[in-house]
């Protein structure tokens, strides 16, 4: 277009010539008037126009000689007549400073063209008003003092630069020579001066004019205005004062701030970024301007001569608007709205009465749909734009974008294209030694190998196949990283950067990865991935908040962070009706909630963090998992089978039940010893764990039975003070009062109060006497001391000593609760692990009472002479002396000495396999599963010597005894019975049952069959069929 305009100009010129100077003069005067208005400084008015006339004359002569000359510099030459001519003359001098400007104006025009091409028809290439607009600036170029001066200047400039130009461009320059040209301290410096924004060029020109006017008075060397740098110009001068002098009086320069450009950066100021754009067909580019700014486009044709490129785009066309426009209706100008990209549907267009022409492109022979000047093919828009309006550097098309481009029809070649672009954008050091690679192009296609060495373009690979040379050199572009399904990888670039996962499928250079955290499939390019064993989620933290933190939000609601995005969190709100996810920004978060509280579940069992709970009603019924956070009676439960919300479920504590014990609770408090100790607690059946044998083991017993109600998990733990005056001290938590904890310091004999947030409770050292309040529990059970007065806590160890046999038999499996169950059912396996045989078996006298008391009292145990289980317990109560640890008198009770041996008594006793006995054994095992009995099961209560009654357990008290309602249907009187007095009613086939232990504890179901010691159970809620030990099945009361 520019060219055409020049030609027009030339024609005009000739006309002008005929019209002689007069016209020019007139025009000039016009300018001057404008000038006057503009600047109010017309001092040199007359002179200048004289000068211009002269020039014009000269110009006329020259003009005839060479028109080409015009063409060359005419890029910006939209000026009419005289104005333009002056420039033509002037150019010779101004070439040196105006070069960039010309190119820049070219750009603008080009870009405008690019925009207009399709929308506006190409009529009227030369817009008159545009030319007029340009005129405004032309005269500025030529404010000169007098002709002689100019010519002198011209000569001097030419003399000065001609030389350097020759030396720089005409000869082969070596690098050393280039180095020599770099500015040194002796050279004039470059100063950066602030000027009015948008007036950079004008300012530069003003300064030039000033120089011309004042001559050598102005001691500056040059002025540079860069197009890309707004608000500043550069002035080359030796001293700052010179710059100030030069700038004085220029209205565009304000602020006396003059900055020196460091020598090192001087070259950067003037160096032109040489962008060698290697555009070829099928490369991916992005649009830089206009409606399609940022859109991905594919190059279909390159015209290097005209610097134009035809690209294929997904159209962003508002058909309705287009239809309006074509029909000449006034389309409301809504600039803000950019139509979303979608493929052009010709039928749709026709429906809107848009004329669609089908034309054959003469060059390529392809058919295009022409709609309102735009060309479409296969729904894509084909658009010819300037090379400058697209960027081809560092294009990383995302997967989605590529998918879109591929969607209508084409399959094969899209891949190749994206490959080439991808490869072009590879970073240096893309391949590393040891990488598995595959050849994707050329003769060796599909050859796999490992990278041995990388130099520059070529990669030496060790081929996988035998019979080939040890290493092969392959061009980097022909290689692609290779992964196999099952590799664990990390994404190192692209949108999924930072994600790790396992490769599930390989589709050429695209991998499908299963993310480690979200368990979702991600599609990535093999190039963006490295093999890695690390497991990350990408970003997991913004500010103080991390993934899976519980946070308090602005509006006092709270939630759990389930995903961290680039600038926001996804938060699962603490509402239980339905899962609610909110996107929350950092500033909307008030604080992190780190309170450790306990709540009660539906059955008033205490739930603390890490306890496993099952949700029994609400939308997430049936889910179960460990509690991760507790706040305001709301539990956040992690269920790994729950795929939504990163596996987190929010539920009310009332709609949950604790299942199993709170194993981790114990762990967290580091009371493994006490847990361990609990195995040793005397299994005196009446109240096995109530026996007050010195605190800690006892406590764990209580804890595991859900008896920690009211006591914070922290009490009794050893903590370290992190902050405050007692920083660094360690101590045991005595009490908790709101935000404060009372800590008994280890090193000083005193109790201090410390803020709860100032302690760290993860010191994994257990304390020997944790939980003092528990200590006196023995007395809480009224009957206990009376029964065995001699044992009531004064001597902490005798029980332990008396029970080695049982320890041996039970402890090994005690920690594993599920194990316990089947172990119970296989009494034969008792004591069969010889490795647990203690080095020195304890004396028989101590052992003797143990089996006696242990088994005899268990209901249904047919070992005791009396034969009636009830009897045994009463006998125990009546005659405590035989069981006193110190008295060997217990011996008479045992039928034979054989029973002292670890293997035998157990075996013998158990073999009968009476249910009562089995049933009790887990309690003896002290497995930490909490109360063995649970409500609603049918039991037999043995109250007095030979009276037994059927009842239903209503409630299990903390000490293990149960509230029982007598009668098979729970309609009799309510009594409280000890576990030892209670015997479960063995369910029969097709009875309704309740499960007392294991993972399904508390669940109800139907016994559909009995197989030896195993019962086949159909669970009620899930309808799952499970094989469970009969021992843990209890008959459900029919009510």
């Amino acid at each position: 277009m520019a060219r055409r305009r020049d030609e027009d100009d030339d024609l005009e010129d000739e006309e002008y010539e005929e019209q002689e100077e007069q016209l020019i003069d007139d025009e000039e005067e016009e300018y001057e008037e404008e000038e006057e208005e503009d600047r109010g400084a017309a001092i040199k008015k007359r002179r200048r126009s004289d000068f211009i006339d002269d020039i014009a004359e000269e110009e006329d002569e020259e003009e005839e000689d060479d028109d080409d000359d015009e063409d060359y510099g005419g890029g910006g030459g939209g000026g009419a007549g005289g104005g333009r001519k002056q420039k033509g003359k002037k150019r010779r001098g101004s070439e040196f400073f105006d070069d960039i400007a010309q190119v820049a104006s070219d750009d603008e025009e080009e870009e405008e063209d690019a925009e207009d091409d399709f929308i506006v028809d190409d009529h009227g290439a030369d817009l008159p008003d545009e030319a007029g607009g340009r005129r405004m600036h032309r005269p500025l170029l030529s404010r000169e003092d007098d002709q002689e001066d100019v010519e002198a200047l011209e000569r001097s400039i030419q003399a000065r630069y001609a030389k350097s130009m020759h030396s720089e461009y005409d000869e082969e320059t070596t690098e050393v020579e280039q180095q020599a040209l770099l500015p040194s301290v002796r050279d004039p410096k470059l100063w950066m001066v602030k000027c009015a924004i948008g007036r950079e060029r004008e300012t530069a020109v003003c300064l030039m004019q000033k120089y011309i006017d004042k001559g050598s008075e102005l001691q500056i060397r040059s002025v540079v205005a860069l197009d890309h740098l707004k608000n500043y110009i550069y002035i080359e001068a030796d001293k700052e004062a010179h710059v100030r002098e030069a700038c004085k009086g220029l209205r565009n320069i304000f602020g006396q701030k003059i900055m020196l450009v460091p020598i090192r950066e001087m070259t950067d100021v003037l160096s032109v970024e040489s962008k060698v754009i290697d555009l070829s067909r099928d490369t991916w580019v992005r649009m830089k301007i206009g409606t399609y700014k940022g859109d991905l486009a594919k190059v279909v044709d390159v015209d290097n001569v005209r610097q134009r490129v035809t690209v294929k785009l997904i159209p962003r066309i508002d058909l309705q608007a287009l239809a309006n426009k074509l029909e000449g209706r006034e389309a409301p100008k809504k600039k803000a709205f950019v139509p979303p990209p979608r493929f052009m549907n010709v039928d749709e267009a026709r429906e809107l009465h848009i004329r669609v022409e089908r034309r054959r492109d003469p060059m390529t022979g392809d058919y295009f749909e022409n709609i309102g000047g735009m060309l479409f093919k296969d729904g894509f828009l084909y658009k010819t734009v300037s090379m400058k309006s697209i960027s081809a550097q560092n294009i990383k098309p995302s997967f989605d974008e590529l998918e879109k481009f591929r969607s209508p029809g084409e399959n094969g070649d899209g891949d190749v294209a994206s490959l080439s672009t991808l490869f072009a954008n590879r970073k240096k050091g893309h391949f590393m030694k040891g990488d598995a690679v595959i050849v994707v192009k050329g003769d060796l296609k599909n050859l796999k190998g490992w990278v041995e060495k990388v130099d520059e373009e070529n990669v030496h690979i060790r081929p996988e196949m035998k019979g080939l040379p040890r290493t092969l050199a392959v061009n980097e572009k022909e290689l692609c990283k290779y992964f196999e399904p099952g590799n664990h990888v990390k994404v190192v670039s692209g949108t999924h950067e930072g994600v790790t996962g396992m490769v599930v499928k390989v589709e050429q250079h695209v991998l499908i990865i299963l993310s480690d955290t979200t368990k979702e499939h991600i599609r990535v390019f093999a190039d963006d991935v490295v093999e890695s064993s690390e497991v990350t989620t990408g970003v997991t933290k913004i500010g103080d908040y991390e993934l899976h933190d519980l946070v308090l939000l602005d509006n006092m609601s709270f939630g759990l962070i389930i995903r961290v995005e680039s600038e926001a969190f996804q938060v699962l709100k603490g509402v239980t009706e339905r899962p609610e996810v909110a996107l929350v920004r950092l500033r909307e978060i008030k604080c992190k909630i780190e309170k450790k509280t306990n709540v009660q579940d539906r059955y008033k069992n205490t739930v603390s963090v890490k306890d496993v709970v099952r949700i029994i009603d609400g939308p997430c019924k049936g889910k179960q998992g460990p509690v991760e956070h507790i706040y305001r009676g709301v539990l956040f439960i992690y269920d790994r089978h729950h795929l939504e919300h990163a596996g987190y479920i929010c539920a009310k504590s009332h709609s949950c039940v604790v299942i199993g014990g709170s194993r981790s609770n114990g762990d967290r408090n580091g009371d493994s010893y006490s847990r361990l100790g609990s195995f040793k607690t005397p299994r005196v059946p009446p109240s096995p764990r109530r026996f007050p044998r010195g605190g800690p083991p006892f406590d764990s017993g209580g804890r595991n039975r859900g008896g920690r109600g009211g006591h914070d998990a922290l009490v009794g733990t050893t903590i370290k003070v992190r902050q405050g005056p007692f920083k660094g001290y360690r101590g045991r938590v005595v009490d908790i009062k709101g935000q404060f904890v009372r800590v008994e310091l280890e090193s000083q004999m005193k109790v201090v109060t410390v803020d709860r947030s100032h302690i760290s409770d993860n010191v994994v050292v257990s304390t020997p006497y944790r939980d003092i309040p528990r200590y006196g529990m023995g007395s809480e059970t009224p009957m206990h001391p009376s029964r065995t007065p001699s044992r009531s806590g004064a001597t902490p160890y005798p029980e332990g000593m008396r029970t080695p046999m049982r320890d041996r038999a039970w402890n090994p499996y005690a920690p594993m609760s599920p194990r316990n169950n089947w172990e119970d059912g296989n009494p034969g396996s008792w004591g069969t692990s010889p490795q647990y045989q203690p080095g020195s078996p304890p004396s028989g006298t101590y052992e003797a009472p143990t089996p006696g008391s242990g088994w005899a009292s268990t209901p249904g145990g047919n070992y005791s002479e009396a034969g009636t289980p009830r009897d045994s317990s009463s006998a125990y109560a009546n005659a405590p002396s035989p069981y006193l640890p110190s008295t060997p008198g217990g011996q008479p009770m045992t039928p034979s000495s054989a029973s002292y041996l670890p293997g035998t008594p157990g075996g013998q006793l158990m073999t009968p396999g009476t249910n009562g006995l089995d049933m009790m054994s887990p309690v003896i095992g002290g497995d930490g599963e909490g109360p063995w009995f649970i409500p609603d099961i049918l039991v037999t209560v043995h109250r007095t010597a030979d009276e037994s009654a059927v009842g239903v357990i209503r409630e299990v008290l903390q000490d293990g005894s149960c509230k029982i309602v007598l009668g098979a249907h729970g309609n009799g009187e309510t009594i409280t019975a000890l576990p030892s007095e209670i015997e479960m009613v063995v369910p029969r086939k097709s009875d309704k049952i309740k499960i007392l232990g294991g993972a399904h504890r508390g669940a109800t179901g139907k016994l559909i069959g009995v197989d030896g010691t195993d019962g086949i159970v159909k669970l009620e809620d899930t309808l799952d069929v499970k094989i469970l030990d009969m021992v843990i099945l209890a008959k459900l009361a029919q009510m």
Partner: protein, 176 residues
């Protein structure tokens, strides 16, 4: 794969457990600490089967704790790449299904399910062949091949495939 191996561990014991039951205490603590754990090298410790020997304890300065080196035999379960396992399907979704073989969770992506099996939504999401003869749903037992493993501190996660000969459903509760 299961292995019966001998491992060693230093057990720290509190002085209050010293006494005649010292050994038992060590053993029960060992079991509590070790059983059910998982290590990258050995996999899951399924059960401790025996104690080889308990070394001499070393009293720690300051705390009074005693460290005993304990050698114990145990059964470990470690899944390997390429191993064929039988597992129970625990969850089915459109991306594939999760199955469990003991403590190990295995994911079989839909890319690794034979192409003729399609996902069917509903109460009981499942993968079914076009003729409906084979169905994978919750609680189905499948034979699968492990193609990748990831070992965390507390679990081993595997990716499996049933897209191979002789792999797939071996026992379907729906048909049983």
């Amino acid at each position: 794969m299961f292995f019966h191996i001998v491992l060693e561990r230093n057990m720290q014991l509190h002085p209050r457990f010293f006494g005649r039951n010292l050994r038992e205490n060590i053993v029960s603590k060992l079991m509590k600490d070790v059983e059910g754990t998982c290590s990258g090298r050995h996999g899951f410790v399924v059960a401790i089967t025996g104690i080889e020997n308990i070394g001499k304890g070393l009293i720690r300065d300051g705390t009074g704790f005693v460290t005993f080196p304990v050698k114990y035999q145990c059964v470990v379960f470690r899944p390997f790449k390429g191993e064929i396992l039988e597992a129970v399907v625990t969850m089915v979704n459109k991306m594939g299904f999760f199955a469990e073989a003991g403590p190990v969770q295995i994911f079989v992506s839909n890319h690794l399910i034979p192409d003729d099996m399609e996902f069917q939504t509903g109460d009981m999401p499942n993968y079914t062949t076009s003729d409906g003869s084979v169905k994978i749903q919750k609680d189905s037992e499948v034979r699968l091949k492990i193609i990748g493993t990831r070992v965390d501190a507390t679990e081993i996660f595997c990716i499996g495939t049933i897209k191979d000969d002789f792999l797939g459903v071996i026992n379907d509760p729906a048909n049983a």
